[in-house]
């Protein structure tokens, strides 16, 4: 075991002075460069962080999507384990967003589905998609149009809570609603 520690240290030292091979494909990252190796650095995920960007839709008297007193500023729907059913407590939130999309036909939303960390990565992509689709289905039944909403899934890849207990899992079984430009 001790030897492995040493090997690890040497390998880490080697990694530190490595050069980037020419076959490594460049990826256009939107986030700031130079975060590689920064211990503990966590991206908040697309759903986290402050809402910036120009808001679509109406309202000379401020943007309802960003008004903390408006239900439209609430964007997360949480699910039970192995479930895709939108619980009653989130109905008002989903209805409000559906109404907003109905009243603002140029508005475009993305519903991002997430799962907890248990199980296959690919199967969890499909589970997250199913959660996103169930919110979208409810929104379209309530007046939003199909073309206004894209559903995508992050599976278990972007946990909001990095913990490994039930409270972390509950936080990660979630849909986030985002609007274009956010």
């Amino acid at each position: 075991m001790r030897k492995y520690l040493w090997i690890g240290l040497i390998a880490a030292a080697l990694a530190g002075c490595s050069t980037t091979p020419s076959t490594e494909a460049p990826v256009d990252d939107k986030s700031a460069a130079g975060t590689a190796g920064a211990g503990g650095a966590q991206t908040g995920g697309a759903a986290g962080g402050g809402v910036t960007g120009s808001a679509t839709g109406s309202g000379a008297s401020g943007n309802p999507l960003r008004d903390p007193n408006n239900i439209l500023s609430k964007r997360s729907v949480y699910f039970d384990y192995d479930s895709f059913v939108v619980k009653d407590e989130y109905r008002p939130l989903v209805e409000a967003h559906a109404r907003y999309l109905q009243q603002n036909r140029s508005a475009r939303a993305t519903v991002q589905g997430n799962t907890d960390e248990r199980g296959s990565r690919e199967y969890n992509i499909a589970l997250g998609q199913k959660r996103a689709d169930s919110v979208k289905r409810m929104m379209t039944l309530l007046g939003a149009t199909e073309s206004q909403i894209e559903t995508v899934s992050f599976g278990k890849e972007k946990p909001k809570n990095p913990g490994h207990d039930e409270s972390a899992y509950a936080e990660n079984r979630r849909d986030d609603i985002l609007y274009a430009g956010e």
Binding site: A15, C17, E24, A25, D29, S120, E122, Y123, I125, V152
Partner: protein
Amino acid sequence: MILLCRRWCAIGLLAFSPLFVGAAQAQLSIEIVGGAGAAIPIAIVPFGNEGTWPLGISGIVGADLARSGMFRLVDTNGVVPRPVRAEEIQPAVWRSRNADAVVVGSMQPLPDGRVDVRFVLSDVVKQSTLVSMQFTVTPQQFRVTAHKIADIIYEKLTGDRGVFSTRIAYITKQGSRYQLLVADADGNEPQSIVASNEPLLSPRWSPDGSRLAYVSFENKKPVVYVQSVDTGERRAVANFRGSNSSPAWSPDGRRLAVTLTKDGGSQVYMMNADGSNVTRVLTSPGIDTEAMFTPDGQWLVFTSDRGGTPQIYRAQLLTGQVERLTFDGSYNVSPRPLPDGKGMVFVRRDGGRFQIASLDYATRQVQVLTSGPGDESPSVAPNGKLVIYASEGGGRGILAAVSIDGRVKQRLVAPASDVREPAWGPFPRQ
């Protein structure tokens, strides 16, 4: 202990060799957890003249064979004079050390800078020479040559093709940085293929080993890319509205099966490897995903919740006929067909534990290969004898491997990063 020393020495030498510094990434080191009871005792004698070069050959051959779990290395210290040719092997000396087979060899520099490498594999029980071969190589080819020699010895003594010359692909996560890496099967010479601050997953080798398909979140959603391993050239082959994931190559390398949600739900589609000619191949009211081709290219094996819980099914491409393959338990996912076409490896949930298991199509018999609790993403070696998978250790993701009979286990640990999503590459092109 011999193995530990060999690896330590080899990596130590690497550190002083400027040749390899450029290629160095977070190195995987290998730890054997269990061993086969019936391992073949073999003595790998250091090759004559080997000390002339910083990186030898016999040490890599020995490490390869020991790592397979099929061999046990016999101590060669104190045998004087050290044999380098077949006629110098004294069977009685090696029988007294309980060796069944002995490997000797020599390395001679040639005037043009290349090296004449010879080795002999001898059966000291029957007292006969099994293999005698010669290679002319550059010092840069020592590692490749050592893996080739290990493959020849493995095949001669076990009857199965060796996988020491193959490569593995895997994903590391360090802080918020994701990398897709390709390394030799022993974890050496890792090369970064793509790096991103968004998740990468599901790397899949094209059957000829020239390209990797994978899923990247760099566009804030899952998109399937295909990238050349040699040139780095890549393209998004599935970037439709919704999620695009779970790529799998057809055995001829011309087509990909992918999971798309563009028409609602997660469903399996087929496309050409450049992303053209997309057609839907399966239809279900729920989830269909994780499709993989069987080796004959005639079936897709996939995960579906059409029966209420995630289970594994197969669909015949010609007829569309679908049959369920798993019945035991409420969560059976991630099917990976075995190269002999007779079965598959998959992930099952037992209570709260996720374990790697195998299924024989004919007998429907399930054999659990690992104990979990968090084992996932299995990938089968091209000879069908080993399964590499993602596991947990010390609070982070590690890679592990298990023999297809479940007897030999090993862990591959990389320092300071989470390692996941291993994919075992094909046999090298001959």
